[in-house]
């Protein structure tokens, strides 16, 4: 390289004024010689001016050179549209070099948006029909890159003819051009469908095309060319003789075809894949060729095929991958084809040499195929194990694809993937960001009730050390998993606490609400949690969610804090003054958000009833904040102050411990959101009939909400609002008997589905539907899942079913409750989807429920 550099410098040309046109090489050198952007631009502009002048003059000899330079300049990013017409002229010329550059220019400069592209249709047509192979190759190449829909339609017959030509060189290009055409003009699929099968058959029966004599011609002379060295001579198919100059130069035969031409095969497979992806009819048609494909692939894998196409020991991996992909498309959702493929896939999976990347690529594709078709269970396990092996590979790329695929698999083959859990967890330590992200997602997906403790430990350790962009995901993932699988409440609280302390700023907004509700629900843990929170708070008041939860807890359970004895952690002597001081610190700290301050102030107020001591300090603080600049705080302070002064007798009642908030259950996130929306609908409705104390609190809270912040902080006091939200969940008591008749909606082979309707009188917009699935047949119904959909104006919540198995002969039925909110009294429509296994078959039914009684929605 240094030697070359010296060479260049010695040849730097001086800047020219007027000169014969530069060769491309020289231009490149000049551009490289330019030291700055501006200089480069200068050089290029000068050159472009020359080129433009030359185009205007219409100099045919050097045109191709000018265009080549223009294309180079274009690649660097400079405008080159004035070269478009020149491309056309060059394409139309008869010299091959001209045509070459012309077509290249067409590919790079022209595209559908410019009208000029249609002009080359004619030239392409001429070139395609002239039978000069390299020219045809060029034309096809250009057509497939930038052919627009009209061009494709015009030229489709030409291309079709070329598909059946003897020469594989042109054929393979024609096939891929057909792929492009189908993409642009899907109607052409019918044109190209028959040749496909023909091509595939031809290859399979090994009908050797023999030795097509290539007629390669420079456009000035026709050269006849007899193929190959004696070793490759076989039957001569055609002989074109031309009267003009003959040149016979033997060289390695590029255009012969041995018994199977993988080039064509590759193209054909791509074409078939494209056809199948586009139209289901083609898919059915090509299912018939699955056995042939299997055969081809088998030959490739077993016979350690020719060295022509083998890459690092694997015979033609690209073809293998393509065939596998096609098999995947053909086998998807189709039992029969999948079965024929099973053996083959197992064979490929075991026989492929995995020491090099090519083998791994084939293996990966195999795994993808196994995953997608209806493969035997053993095969799926094999696939998962292969992926597991990939995970241990030292090559990061392979680990990456393995993690990605495992993520896709984890839904369907959960248990198989579980086996590789330790490896996955190890991958969390990866230095590569994309790898560790994948590993994180996979780990979160793998958490289940049996491994939750171990996994949580790992994940929490990861949380402490992970890069910041992953923190939010990790934190929310941990919280979600904790919610679903927490073995004990205490463990749950501990986990959340830990997450809040390590990554507090990254948690989602509702984490605070969740935690407060959780703590509120765990009666026995109040003392424990308040103590721990107090400790955490004392150490660090910067993590806002933590501070909010801690403040709330201290406010609620301050008396427990001061009691001093709790079995679960060491006894802590906390002084009243310390607590108050801490809360004041939170109030005054500049790190606290306004929402946090709100929490702290309310907590202080609550403490005024909990603590035995004098309330002077609290009163002082409250009255200071009466003139706070923050409207929210000010309002609170004013109200609390008024409580002290005028309504002191009510203070105790108002500030007593909050009622427990009802929640639907751990998977209630979506439902909670929906019920929140529903609650907003019914918030306008009169406040619930609860005790006067909570009514006052409601009013206070409604006021708070009215003056609330524009952004979306966590709900300021989760309970009264929360009580409104979850009012709808309160009917744990069985609803009053329904006057609406039951409806039988589904019956099949003894499995029956009934709907019963209930309209609770308190809430006219609510409809409760209970579905009951019964089984009077001789076979059990297992994996019963019922899903429902309603029109958009209604809201639907599904509760968890009572089970998913209905034993035979009238065994215990499955019941599931649907809640439908219909505030606008829109007509009720209900669509149900059932999936279950019955008599060893999986059944899926989708239907709309007719004959819904009118009373259900009016």
């Amino acid at each position: 390289m240094p030697g070359q550099r010296v060479f260049l410098h010695s040849r730097t040309l001086p800047v020219r004024m007027v000169a014969p046109s530069l060769k491309l090489q020289d231009l490149i050198e000049e551009i490289r010689g330019a030291k700055t952007q501006a200089q480069e631009r200068e050089v290029i502009q000068k050159e472009c001016a020359h080129i433009r002048a030359s185009f205007r003059d219409g100099d045919p000899v050097h045109r191709h050179r000018q265009l080549a330079k223009l294309l180079y300049v274009h690649m660097l990013g400079y405008p080159a549209h004035f070269g478009q017409m020149e491309c056309l002229k060059l394409i139309a010329s008869s010299r091959f070099t001209d045509k070459r550059v012309g077509y290249l220019g067409a590919m790079l400069l022209l595209d559908e948006r410019h009208d000029a592209h249609l002009l080359i249709t004619n030239s392409i047509k001429n070139d395609l029909s002239q039978g000069i192979q390299p020219v045809q190759g060029l034309a096809l190449c250009t057509l497939s890159t930038m052919g627009s829909a009209e061009m494709c339609r015009d030229l489709a017959p030409e291309v079709e003819k070329l598909l059946l030509q003897p020469s594989p060189y042109v054929r393979k290009k024609a096939i891929l051009t057909a792929v492009h055409m189908i993409r642009k003009v899907p109607e052409l699929s019918s044109v190209f469908l028959p040749p496909c099968v023909h091509l595939l058959h031809e290859r399979h029966h090994g009908k050797a095309v023999g030795l097509p004599i290539l007629c390669f011609s420079s456009v000035d002379r026709r050269i006849e060319n007899r193929m190959g060295t004696p070793a490759h001579r076989r039957r001569v198919a055609h002989t074109h003789r031309h009267t003009r100059n003959r040149l016979s130069c033997p060289w390695p035969p590029p255009f012969t075809s041995p018994t199977l031409t993988p080039g064509i095969l590759l193209g054909t497979i791509t074409l078939i894949t494209e056809l199948c992806e586009r139209s289901p009819a083609a898919l059915k048609h090509f299912r018939k060729v699955v056995p042939q494909l299997v055969q081809i692939l088998r030959t490739l894998v077993t016979t350690g095929y020719s060295t022509e196409h083998s890459i690092s020991g694997v015979s033609d991996p690209f073809l293998q991958v393509q065939i596998l992909r096609l098999l995947r498309i053909l086998g998807r959702n189709h039992e029969e084809s999948s079965e024929t493929m099973n053996d083959l896939l197992a064979q490929v999976a075991t026989n492929t040499d995995t020491s090099r990347n090519a083998g791994n690529a084939v293996l990966f594709e195999t795994v993808l195929t196994i995953m997608d078709i209806h493969s035997a269970a053993g095969l799926r396990v094999l696939a998962v194990n292969i992926l597991g092996r990939f995970l241990l590979n030292s090559d990061r790329n392979i680990r990456y694809v393995a993690l990605t695929s495992l993520l896709r698999l984890v839904q369907s083959d959960h248990s198989a993937v579980q086996r590789h859990r330790p490896t996955v967890v190890d991958c969390l330590q990866e230095t590569d960001a994309s790898l560790s992200r994948r590993a994180l997602e996979l780990s979160l997906a793998l958490v289940n009730s049996s491994n939750v403790r171990a996994m949580m430990q790992e994940l929490q350790a990861f949380l402490e050390s992970c890069p910041p962009d992953l923190r939010a995901d990790c934190a929310s993932g941990i919280l979600l998993a904790a919610e679903r699988f927490a073995p004990t409440k205490r463990w749950h609280i501990d986990t959340i606490l830990h997450v809040l302390t390590t990554a507090g700023t990254h948690v989602r907004d509702d984490a605070v609400a969740n935690l407060t509700q959780l703590i509120g629900g765990a009666q026995e843990l109040h003392a424990y949690s308040v103590r721990r929170l107090y400790n955490a708070l004392a150490e660090d008041i910067s993590q806002q969610p933590l501070v909010q939860v801690a403040a709330w807890c201290i406010g609620e359970y301050g008396d427990l804090l001061l009691e001093g004895n709790c079995e679960e952690i060491e006894p802590l002597q906390v002084d009243e003054e310390e607590v108050l001081a801490l809360l004041e610190k939170v109030l005054q700290s500049h790190m606290s958000l306004p929402a946090t301050r709100g929490y702290a102030l309310t907590a202080l107020m609550k403490l005024s009833t909990r603590l035995q001591g004098d309330n002077n300090r609290i009163r002082q603080v409250v009255s200071i904040y009466r003139s706070c600049l923050d409207v929210e705080l000010q309002q609170r302070a004013v109200e609390y102050d008024t409580l002290f002064r005028k309504y002191d007798h009510m203070r105790a009642a108002i500030l007593e411990k909050m009622p427990l908030v009802e929640r639907d259950g751990p998977q209630a996130d979506e439902e909670a959101k929906q019920s929140k929306e529903a609650a907003q609908l019914s918030e306008a409705a009169p406040a619930p009939t609860e005790s006067q104390a909570s009514q006052l609190l409601d009013l206070l809270d409604l006021l708070d909400r009215a003056s609330g912040d524009a952004q979306h902080p966590p709900p300021l006091d989760p309970s009264p609002g929360g009580a409104l939200v979850y009012l709808l969940d309160l009917p744990c008591a069985p609803p009053p008997p329904a006057p609406i008749p039951d409806l039988k909606v589904f019956e099949r082979e003894g499995v029956q589905l009934n709907l019963s309707f209930i309209r609770p009188p308190e809430n006219p917009a609510l409809l409760l539907i209970t579905i009951t699935a019964t089984n009077s047949s001789e076979g059990d119904v297992t994996n019963f899942i019922c899903q429902a959909a309603v029109p958009k104006s209604l809201q639907l919540q599904l509760q968890a079913p009572s089970g998913n198995t209905v034993p035979a002969r009238g065994g215990l039925p499955i019941t599931q409750l649907f809640r439908i909110l219909n505030p606008n009294k829109a007509p009720l429509r209900l669509k149900l989807r059932l999936t279950y296994n019955h008599f060893h078959q999986s059944v899926q039914e989708i239907f709309e429920v007719n004959n819904l009684p009118v009373e259900s929605w009016q």
């Binding site: 491309l24 070459r100 390299p134 690529a361 594709e365 590569d432």
Partner: protein, 138 residues
């Protein structure tokens, strides 16, 4: 193909991209590739497609594909391409690529047609090119 300074040596688009967007796209792609260290894997997710890159001395070869492609096959393909170039130029260096850009385009066209791999056998790819060379000499 880009070099370490971020200059594009060759670019080929099989889907239409506006010319002004191309430079932007290329710069972004280059940036994300250059910022990867040796420790990280060669597949990057960029917007709604995937990038697969390989580094050969001072030259990065980047291929952008959509979601359905097998990344490892493309990885292998890049290597195949470089081997072909190697054979043609007999020990290729990036300068050679620069000066013979049209030939490199021809090779690429022989191997990939509208985004689909056509031919991977070295001899067959280079044959038309060799013929062309012979003709231009004679």
């Amino acid at each position: 193909m880009v070099n370490k300074q971020g200059q594009t040596r060759l670019s080929k688009y099989y889907e239409h991209v506006d010319i002004n967007k191309r430079t932007l796209l290329e710069t972004e792609v280059i940036k994300s590739c250059l910022s990867r260290s040796n420790e990280q894997c060669s597949f990057i997710e960029y917007k709604d497609f995937k990038l697969i890159y390989r580094q050969y001395a001072a030259l990065f070869i980047v291929v952008g594909v959509n979601d359905t492609e097998n990344e490892m096959a493309i990885y292998e393909f890049i290597h195949n391409f470089v081997e072909v170039l190697d054979e043609y130029f007999s020990r290729v260096v990036s300068l050679m690529i620069m000066f013979n850009l049209d030939k490199v385009h021809i090779i690429l066209d022989e191997m990939v047609l509208n985004g689909c791999i056509v031919e991977t056998n070295r001899a067959r790819i280079l044959a038309p090119l060799l013929i062309l060379d012979k003709m231009s000499e004679s």
